[in-house]
Structure formats: structure tokens, C-alpha cells
Symmetry: C2
């Protein structure tokens, strides 16, 4: 009998058991509610996992955290690469933690699988914030679909709020429809722009300007200050042409320099004004409720589509149907009926 082997196996089992113990739903939830960053990180890892056991555990933790949410402000931040999002978040986040807020920085970047976490992946770009006890930074979850990535981030928000983070910043580079996804999970949506270089005349992706609650001209420093002033006038004029928001809010155009730390306070003042106004008229709460409903219906519709397009019978016929429709051999409606009948069989 090989005693040492038996002992070793027992020990190993104990160690495994002990490790499992420290990751129970209870211990993770309690850790989160106490504001423990390690527990929070571990629970987010469960959300991000594709393992079914992890997903089940994650769902339990989320459900429990839902009833312990901190009153928070969720802020979406978008802008093309090079606009200085990381520097802005570093500067903006530091101001907030200095004022006593707890700040979580998340990201939605559906390309991160390919580019290995382009956003927030390089935390050195936020070297002050990353060391801050009152800040929690988490790179974008990876995933092949925007829906999946966005879902994980939205669930992470719940955990962060349960952990006491009262300001949630969600960054996106705006690939595909990622701004729309982020817009539908935040209270305030901020578009970062650069002055000069013709940037204010082009490059605004369709619909983005209309989502913005504020446009902030970043890098308004040195030679750029005059250009930033001109850009503010142009954007204000353009926003003026758009329909007023349902809540009566007129989007603001601001300028700042994250590098020189100027104008950052104005951004925060604007957000505070927005929140105060919208809390008073109850729009803040109504919008969150509508967002919850939106995510319920959106998830259903995404899943229905996924089930359809992953159906083997559909897969085998789809390309032929598309070709027939594209070449006017059959009408889109007749082809759709055919595919739907295949699916329901």
C-alpha cells in the first residue's frame, strides 16, 4: 500500500475543497458586499467564463447583488482611438476619487479578442488610477459577439455597484454598434472629440452625435485652444439642429485638457446638473427601468436569432436563399417563409 500516495491524494482533495470553499457563492457575494476587490474580480471572472457551472454561480451572485445596489451614476465614454480616452479617464477618475467617490472603470470592446484587449488592457495608461484604493479597473471582457461582450459588462456593473462603486465609467472605442450597447446601459453618454485636423467636419459616425448628452473637446491645450473654441461653436450649432431629448436636456459642448487637467471639473459639474435635473423629474429612474426592459427584450431577440441561424437545416439552406434573393430569383418574403418552415420543422 502506497501510503504517501494516499496521503498525497487526500491532501490534494483537501486543497481543492478548500479552494472551492473560498469561492462559494456566499463567500463571493459577502466579499463583494464588503467591497473586497479580489472577490469582485473573481465573481467577474465567473461572469466572463463560458463554463456552465460558472455561469450558474455568476447568475446567483448577480441576483443577490441586485438587491444591494448602491445609488450610482453610470457614464458612457466614447471617442475614436487617439482622442485621449485613457488620459481623460485617468484625470476624470482621480478628481472623482479625490472628492470621495468610488470609481469603477469598465469597457466594451468587441474587438478585444483579436487585439488582445486594446482598451484598458494597457493599464499603464492610467497609472495613477490603477493604484487608487477607491478605483477599480477592469478591461473589456472578450467575446466574439457584441451582444455577449455587452451582456457581461452590464452584469459586471451590478456587481460593482453592490461593491460600493457609485460612479461607473464605461469606455468604448465605438466599433460596430458598441456605442449603442453602451448608450443603453448608462445614465449619461459622453462623446470625446478632438479639435482641428478636420476632425469636427467628418468622422462622426452616424447617430453617435444624437446619442451624446455632452460632447467634450479633449486636448484643448497649447496651440489647440483656438481650434477647440471654434469646434465648440460648430458642435453646439449642429446639436441645435437635432430634436430636443425627451427629458428636455440640451446636450452641452465642453472643452478640456486631460493632460493639463483643465475643464475636467466642468464635465463633472455638467453630469451632476444632468443627474439632479433628471432625478427631480423622475426621468433618471424611468430611463433605467426602460433600459432594463430593453435588455430583457434585446436578449430574447438575440437568442431567437442565434437559435435560428445556428439551426443546421437553416445553415444548409441560408446561403442559397440569400443568393436567390440577391439575384431577384425569388422575393425576400417567399425565401423567408421557406427558411422559417425549415426551422419550425
Amino acid at each position: 500500500m502506497n501510503t504517501s500516495k494516499n496521503i498525497s491524494a487526500e491532501s490534494a482533495s483537501k486543497i481543492r475543497s478548500f479552494r472551492r470553499e473560498t469561492h462559494t457563492t456566499d463567500s463571493l457575494t459577502n466579499g463583494i458586499l464588503k467591497g473586497d476587490k479580489t472577490a469582485l474580480s473573481r465573481a467577474i471572472t465567473l461572469i466572463e467564463s463560458t463554463n456552465a457551472t460558472h455561469t450558474k454561480q455568476a447568475n446567483e451572485i448577480i441576483e443577490r447583488c441586485l438587491t444591494h445596489k448602491t445609488k450610482s451614476i453610470r457614464i458612457g465614454i466614447t471617442g475614436v482611438p487617439g482622442v485621449g480616452k485613457s488620459t481623460f479617464i485617468e484625470s476624470f477618475g482621480k478628481r472623482l476619487t479625490t472628492e470621495g467617490h468610488k470609481v469603477a472603470v469598465l469597457a466594451v470592446d468587441p474587438t478585444s479578442t483579436v487585439t488582445r484587449g486594446s482598451i484598458l488592457g494597457d493599464k499603464t495608461r492610467m497609472e495613477e488610477l490603477v493604484k487608487d484604493a477607491n478605483a477599480f479597473i477592469r478591461p473589456s471582457p472578450s467575446g466574439s459577439s457584441l451582444g455577449g461582450v455587452a451582456r457581461k459588462t452590464r452584469e459586471t456593473i451590478v456587481l460593482c455597484e453592490a461593491a460600493g462603486y457609485n460612479i461607473i465609467l464605461i469606455e468604448t472605442v465605438g466599433v460596430g454598434q458598441s456605442e449603442t450597447a453602451v448608450h443603453s446601459m448608462v445614465d449619461f453618454f459622453l462623446l470625446l472629440k478632438l479639435a482641428g485636423a478636420g476632425d469636427e467636419l467628418q468622422g462622426i459616425k452616424r447617430g453617435i452625435m444624437e446619442m451624446a448628452d455632452a460632447i467634450v473637446i479633449n486636448k484643448s491645450d497649447g496651440d489647440n485652444i483656438q481650434r477647440a473654441k471654434k469646434a465648440r461653436v460648430e458642435f453646439a450649432r449642429a446639436l441645435h439642429l437635432l430634436k430636443t431629448q425627451d427629458n428636455g436636456w440640451v446636450p452641452k459642448v465642453l472643452a478640456c485638457s486631460a493632460l493639463e487637467d483643465t475643464g475636467i471639473k466642468d464635465v463633472w459639474d455638467t453630469i451632476e446638473t444632468y443627474v439632479a435635473t433628471n432625478t427631480k423629474n423622475n426621468f433618471f429612474n424611468t430611463k433605467r427601468q426602460e433600459q432594463n426592459k430593453y435588455w430583457l427584450l434585446q436578449t430574447i431577440e438575440d437568442q431567437l436569432k442565434q437559435q435560428f441561424y445556428q439551426d443546421k437545416k437553416v445553415k444548409a439552406q441560408l446561403q442559397e436563399s440569400i443568393n436567390a434573393v440577391v439575384n431577384n430569383k425569388t422575393s425576400p418574403f417567399a425565401a423567408a417563409d421557406k427558411l422559417l418552415k425549415l426551422h419550425s420543422k
Copy 2:
């Protein structure tokens, strides 16, 4: 034996048979291909019918017409009520028929069931065009869903083109998402606007300006001419801020008076330039192919959703799930999973 009754019954049967005869798929299709307006109207009535036999017959006619399509230009026209859409179409349509074109005027108005055909219902607003041998005017199909109304109109386009109409004008008042539906079935999208009265500063529904291939300031006559000039400058400036279209087209801003018949030629010249440029770079054809594919996928997704939301088990649970999600009792994702499981059972 009541001879007269028997004879009468026979006659009635013959008459019925004769009437049926004239409505066969063959006769209607042949009629359409000869440009017979009565056959065209009857076939459209089959498209609009909710009777399954009619739908089947309509589908056969559409499939046959698909291979006989005339080379056409499909133009979407939108603008708020009062902007003068009917007067514009009357004036624009007359110019086209005078130049030898055959013009079909259709509409997508999802509210027409309620308002009893607000658009084009009152054909007297187009009294010249309605008498024109080279024009065919058809009010919006009725229907409770935009999807249904839009589908019927899109199928009607195929029949009109098979009947030799080479210019298809599709009007919409822009209720809900109807502009998006019309935009996805036309080659050129035209937004009618009014100058003055603060209209250029507000009232532009989100996303509409970005769909426009041209903005036409209507009623640019009398006292309005100066205001129209100012509006042109403002709109041109605003359009300039938007991202360039994929085909490189820069949307034009024009002014016209449908009443005084000025500027109408410019609108047509612009559309001809657009078509010429886009035919050359093959964008015209590519866009139509993409639209066909869009309608295939859109129809599938609409049907999947309809099947889901009309599922009795889902119906019984949906409101409770929405309430739970809205009040943060459960996460949108957990609630969605629950409903999807009910549906697949």
C-alpha cells in the same frame, strides 16, 4: 321544376366562373406585363388581402414579375405633415411624365388604418397626376404593423416595375420607424423641409437627416425665399458634419416651390446625377442587392419575434417578467432565459 331558377343559377355560375377566369394568375400577370392598370390594381389588392388563397396567388404573380422588372429608379419622399408632399409629388410627377417617364406613386403609412388613409387617400390633392395615363397612384396599404404595411408596399413595387413604371415614388409621413422602412426599399431618399417658423432648428427626427440623399426646402416662394436661402446654408452646414456616405455622395440641399413649379428640375437633375454616378461605380446595384438581403433577414427576424410574443405560454408570463426586471427583482438576462425556455417547451 322551376326552370327559370335553374337557368338563373347556371348563369350565375357562368358569370362567377367568367369573373374568376379573368382573375387567374396568368391573366393578371399578363395584364401587368402589358401595363394594364386594372390588372395591376387587382394584383395589388391580392397582395393586400389577408386571405390565404389571395396571398398564395399574389406570391405567384410576384415571383413571375420578378423576372420581368423594368429598369427603374425608386425614390423615397418624407417630411412632416404640412410640408407639401402631395403638391410636390404632383408637380414632380407631372414633370417626369411629360419627359416620357411612367410614374408610380405609392405610400407607407402605418397609421392609415386609423386615419383611413391619410396619405394619398385624398387623391384630389394630385388632381393632374391622377388623370395622367402615365401615372399610377395607390394609397398606403392598411395594416396594424409597420412590417406588414412596408412588406406590401415593397411587393407592390415589383408589380409596378413589371408593369413598366420606371420611376417609383414612395411617400411616408414618418410615423415611428416608417422612414427606415422606406429608406431600405429605395435608391434615393429625399427629405422635404420647410423654411422658417423655427422648423430648421427643431423637429428633425433622430437619424432622418442622416438618411437623406437630398434635403429639399419646399414652399420656397414669396416671403419664404429669403428664409429658404438661410435654411439651405444651415442644412448644408449640418450635413457637412455628418460622415460621408459609403458611396462618396455628399447629400445636396435644394430649394423649390411645388406651387410655382420652380426648382423641381434641380431635384430631378440631382437624382439623375446620383443614379449616373452610382451606376458607374456599381453602388446602385450593390445597394439593391443589400436591400434584398436586408428584407430577407428582416422578415425572418420579425417572424421569429412574432411567433415568440404570440406564444400563449410567453404571453401569460411576459408582463410579470418585465415587472420583475424593471424593479430589479431579477436580471434582464435571467428573465430572458426563463421566457425562452417556456417558448421552446
